[in-house]
């Protein structure tokens, strides 16, 4: 079954043209050959039901793997992971099982320059899971990452997902996540995107059940000639469902960013509520920033709003901070830090926040 599943996806992948992302004027080139990935990606876990993907497992979980439509960054990316993944995890948390926690390292080095992961996470009824995913590299390898994760959060379950992507400029990074949230289930995501010269990140959330909840928070940084495309879609299906997206970023040098977010209120999702907000600080006049928020609605009894704003460094804020002895660079970094911290406060560990702030300072050229 695995062979068939993968073989079919490889066939489809090979027939698809390379995507051209016109907004950032970039054709995405995939590696000609996917080499083996020989690193253990589980850094830490306190539960057992994590499985390496094999044929039998794919057969068992086929109804979760085969989706009704294309999600994520696009067909080529999805088929690539589904057909040619060289690592990945299936996590199946039993009903009612709480306190589960795992740390996953999706790292790239000269021995493992190509990382293609395909993951399945199922949180059964009333279970709870915290997952931390770190993306690092050896800072000298020209690498490529493409990931596709399918997530099912069943009735009353709760998933907290934290991603910190700190690849160097040598890495291309593409990450697609599709998330289905059942009745009374909850998903909280903090996604920190600091590195990678070319990155695409996509979340597609289906709030299927009544009172389902999803909160996605994103922090990003663009430096040098980084190009990035972020997409956050929330589909409201259940009644009283709540879905929120908040994205805060800073762009400097010649970085180029596209932010998209679509709230789709589907008939029947009465009393649902959603919002999508993006705020970006433009640190340099040569950066490019596109924001494309959208709202579709076929149900009238809902509340939805979106907002996107881009601003230069606030001159009065800079004057205030420099008045207190901070030079221009230090004041600039503090303004960026100040905009990121309210989101980073949501991380469960104080040292994660500090680490990220230090990485931001490093990348912006601070001490």
């Amino acid at each position: 079954m695995l062979k068939n599943y993968r073989a079919q996806n490889i066939k489809e992948y090979e027939m698809l043209p390379n995507p051209y992302w016109k907004r950032i004027n970039e054709e995405i080139l995939f590696p000609e050959k996917v080499l083996d990935y020989n690193k253990d990606i589980i850094a830490e876990k306190n539960f057992d039901n994590v499985m390496d993907v094999d044929e039998e497992l794919c057969f068992k979980y086929i109804k979760y793997l085969e989706l009704d439509r294309n999600y994520g960054l696009g067909e080529k990316f999805l088929r690539f992971s589904e057909g040619l993944s060289n690592t990945g995890l299936f996590i199946d948390i039993e009903a009612g099982d709480k306190g589960n926690r795992a740390r996953i390292d999706l790292n790239i080095d000269s021995e493992n320059p190509i990382l293609v992961d395909h993951n399945l996470i199922i949180c059964r009824e009333n279970s709870e899971l915290d997952i931390f995913i770190n993306y690092e590299d050896d800072k000298k390898t020209n690498g490529f990452h493409n990931g596709f994760t399918k997530i099912y959060v069943e009735k009353g379950a709760k998933l907290n997902l934290y991603k910190i992507q700190n690849y160097s400029q040598e890495i291309q990074h593409f990450d697609s996540s599709v998330i289905f949230v059942d009745e009374d289930a909850e998903v909280n995501i903090i996604d920190v995107q600091l590195g990678s010269k070319l990155k695409g990140v996509n979340y597609d959330v289906g709030l299927k059940g009544d009172r389902s909840f999803c909160d996605i928070k994103n922090v990003y940084l663009g430096t040098d000639k980084d190009k990035m495309d972020f997409n956050y879609d929330i589909n409201f299906l259940g009644r009283n469902s709540k879905g929120y997206v908040e994205s805060v970023g800073a762009l400097t040098d010649k970085a180029w960013k596209v932010f998209r977010s679509t709230e789709n209120f589907i008939k029947g999702c009465k009393k649902s509520e959603g919002s999508a907000k993006e705020y970006v600080i433009l640190l340099n006049k040569d950066v490019k920033s596109h924001a494309i928020p959208a709202l579709f609605c076929t149900e009238d009894d809902v509340i939805g709003d979106h907002a996107a704003s881009a601003g230069q460094l606030d001159g009065n804020k800079m004057f205030y901070l420099m008045n207190r002895g901070l030079d221009k660079e230090a004041a600039k970094i503090l303004v960026v830090e100040s905009s990121f911290v309210p989101i980073l406060e949501g991380l469960p560990e104080e040292n994660m926040k500090k680490t990220i702030i230090n990485l931001v300072k490093d990348r912006l050229g601070g001490d």
Partner: protein, 247 residues
Amino acid sequence: MNNDLLLKIDELKVSIGDRNILKGLNLEINEGETHIIMGPNGAGKSTLGNVLMGHPEYKIDSGNIYFNGEDINGLSVDERAKRGLFLSFQYPEEISGVTVENFLRTSKMAVTGENVPILEFQKQLKEKMDLLQIPEEYKERYLNVGFSGGEKKKNEILQMAILDPKLAILDETDSGLDVDAIKVIYEGIKILKEGKKSFLVITHYNKILDYLAPDFVHILVDGKIVETGSADLANRIEELGYENFKK
């Protein structure tokens, strides 16, 4: 230059856009002196504070500012702060994500150029917060975020106390505050006014005279200092208003 002379402003003309605001202002402040600048709305009082700190929106058309004998016209804002100038803002900025304590320690290190050991700093911070009757938990709050008007002004004076400048410019620190808050702030300043620290206090009210004995009171009208005198001058303003000083 005189050894005691801290600030000398010489025929300063300043504009913003095509509007002339300061039109030939002269002022000298010696070490340890307290000067009060009073004047009607739009006279250029806040402009003076901003220009002394090097606000980039204001253009110096002519004239010079000397601080400790050095011409500081070309210095950046932070360089002026490092030399001992401090401006207490009329409308302090809110900086979310940065706590009062972290900001003050960062500023202290930036101004002095030296590492400030954390325990020593915390002790100093507690002393100053007690003096200004600021509850200890405020040091963990984000800078000025959610602070009332009075709390923001107190926080400005706390920053002044920690950074220990040579010349503190207080821009309408008393505006918008109730009598109790003014009392706490000015009593705090009174205690902090020690040794050679000098003050340039920009105000609408002569309430400050109850707490600080100024060496000089200046009346600023239409971009120029039109009269200089003692504390009595402030009392005359209270009685007669500014009309008599407008030509």
